[in-house]
Structures are given as C-alpha cells and as structure tokens.
C-alpha cells in the first residue's frame, strides 16, 4: 500500500496533502449524451484503487486510466451500470465503491440517519410533552434583557 502512495505522491511522508497533486482530466467522449452521463456518473462513483482518496474520474494513475477504459468499453458494449459495478466488485471488492451497497452488512450504515432521526423525534416528543404540562405552573417571568 505504501508503494501506491509513493507512486501517487512525489515526496512521501511529508506535509499535509498526501495524495496526487495533479488530477487527471478525462477527455473521454461517448457517442451519446446519455452514455456520457452514465460514464461520468460511474467514473465518479468508483474509487481509484491506487490513489485511494480520488474518484476513478480524477485519478492520474495508470491503472485508473485502464479502468476508465474498461468502463467505457463495457458501456459501449451495452452493459448496464450494475454490470460495471459488479465487474469492479468482483475484482477489487467493496472498497472500490463510493456508495456502500444496499446489502445486509451495510444495514447499520444506511439505517443510522433514520434511526437517529426517529430517536431524536421521540426524545423531542417526550421533552415537549413534559414541558407543555409544566407551562401553566410556570409563573416565572421571562428575563427582560432584550435577548433573542
């Protein structure tokens, strides 16, 4: 893994930005706008396996250029987006996706925001109910200091 970093970075172990300073500009043109949109979507959704903090679209690494070519060829051959993703998954595993798959082992992750929302809502409901009951008994005047 360290080699991968060295290949990406001119001076390893130094300073703040530890990844490729130069991004790739991918000038691939697909024959139709629809294919172009799918190509760009996929290359941005896939992680570069060598410069691992970049999307496939942005990475200057050689293997990234190869993988972009694979994506292009697969789309031109009529494969679906899922076919492309599965191709990458079979070879590199989950690490290569920026969007975690909707599978059982990732349930906790995709459910986390909703669970937090529900828990938060319940807590808020309980607090509001409790405080609403105390309102009539609460005769303390509000502090008058022009505060908002």
């Amino acid at each position: 893994m360290r080699r991968a970093t060295v290949i990406c970075v001119a001076a390893a172990g130094l300073a703040l930005a530890n990844a490729a300073v130069v991004r790739a500009i991918d000038t691939t043109q697909m024959p139709t706008p629809e294919l172009q949109a799918r190509y760009e979507g996929l290359t941005h959704e896939l992680r570069c396996v060598q410069c691992q903090d970049e999307a496939l679209a942005d990475s200057p690494a050689g293997v990234a250029a190869d993988l972009r070519r694979e994506v292009r060829d697969m789309l031109l051959a009529g494969k679906s987006d899922d076919d492309v993703r599965n191709f990458m998954l079979a070879r590199y595993g989950d690490f290569v996706l920026f969007r975690p798959r909707f599978v059982l082992k990732n349930v906790w992750l995709w459910a986390a925001p909703e669970v937090l929302l529900v828990v938060g809502a319940l807590v808020a409901w309980r607090v509001v109910r409790k405080r609403a009951r105390l309102v009539s008994a609460d005769t303390e005047p509000l502090p008058d200091d022009g505060s908002n």
């Binding site: 893994m1 060598q50 050689g62 190869d66 595993g93 690490f95």
Partner: protein
C-alpha cells in the same frame, strides 16, 4: 431503569474500542483485501515476453501450484524483490510465472537480462486488462494458485523471505517436485 446520563459514556467506550481496533489494523488500511481469495484464478492468454509470436496461457498451468508475480521494469520495488524471486526459482518449490504489467517489451527483456530471469515464462500484459482481471492495483503483487486453479493467497507488495515462509511455504505441500 438505565440512567440515561450514562449513555454518552457507554457510547464513547464503544467508539474508543472501534478506534483502537482501527489503529491495530491501520498498517493494512488501504490494502484492498483481494476478493479473489478462494475463487478460481482468472484465465489469460497473452504473448510471451521472450517470443511475442508465441502465446502463453493459464491453461498450461492447470494441475500444479504456481506463483504469479506481477511486475514491470518501471517498478522500483520490483527490483528490491528480484533477489527473492531468484531464490524462489532456485528452491523449485513452486512454478514462478511472471506477468509483465503495462511494460515496454524491450525494456522488460533488458531488465531480466540485467537482473536475471527467475520466471518459467512471462506473459506480456501490455494493455493491463489481465492485471485488472486479477484485481491488481500496484506492483509488485504475487498470487499463489493451487492445482485446482483456486487463488489461495495474495501478497501485496514486496515478497519478503518472511512472507515466503509464513504464507507461501506453509501452504505448499511438503517438498513438491520442481518444474512441470
């Protein structure tokens, strides 16, 4: 009932455990665990480096253990590992096959001439497609494949004597006969 004021502390303890485990595994961070382990090795059919008119294919490797080593003349770490590969060849414990990844043929041949050729044969993967099939993302990498054609181990990075003993020799049957 649970004292709800203890919840933050409990949550933090769990977090600390996760972080501690993370530190323990951090040297492996970014090392992509190969999804090929336990799966059939990808088939290939590529020109041989020594004689481009001749094709070498994985079909010839069936029925025996082999170690596929991905390298390139442009790769610095590959040079570091080269001596180890010569030793592997000399030991005769496993067939050593080279995959010359995205390289210039003449430069690759020159490299082997200069440092010695440990490989039984070298497949020239000029456009990198085969390497992608094997899930290669940096050089050098080495794959150990069993006689049934299943990938049993992937060495990411330099093949050191330590890895050779602990990971590869331990998986090979005792004193396998050399060569084909």
């Amino acid at each position: 009932m649970i004292n709800r004021f203890v919840i933050p502390m409990v949550a933090f303890v769990l977090l600390a455990v996760v972080l501690a485990v993370g530190i323990k595994h951090s040297p492996e961070k970014g090392v992509i665990a190969s999804p090929l382990i336990g799966k059939p090795a990808p088939q290939f059919s590529l020109p041989s480096l020594s004689d481009p008119t001749h094709t070498v294919s994985s079909a010839a490797l069936r029925g025996q253990w082999y170690l596929l080593n991905v390298w390139g003349s442009w790769c610095g770490t590959c040079r570091d590992e080269h001596q180890m590969l010569l030793d592997v060849r000399r030991s005769g414990r496993v067939r050593l096959i080279g995959l010359d990844w995205r390289d210039d043929d003449s430069q690759a041949r020159g490299y082997l001439q200069q440092l010695g050729d440990p490989y039984e044969f070298v497949a020239a993967d000029r456009d990198g497609r085969t390497a992608i099939d094997w899930g290669v993302y940096a050089a050098p990498e080495s794959f150990l494949v069993n006689p049934a054609g299943i990938v049993v181990y992937k060495c990411m990075g330099e093949l050191t004597p330590d890895i050779w003993e602990k990971e590869i020799l331990s998986r090979l049957p005792k004193a396998q006969a050399a060569g084909s």
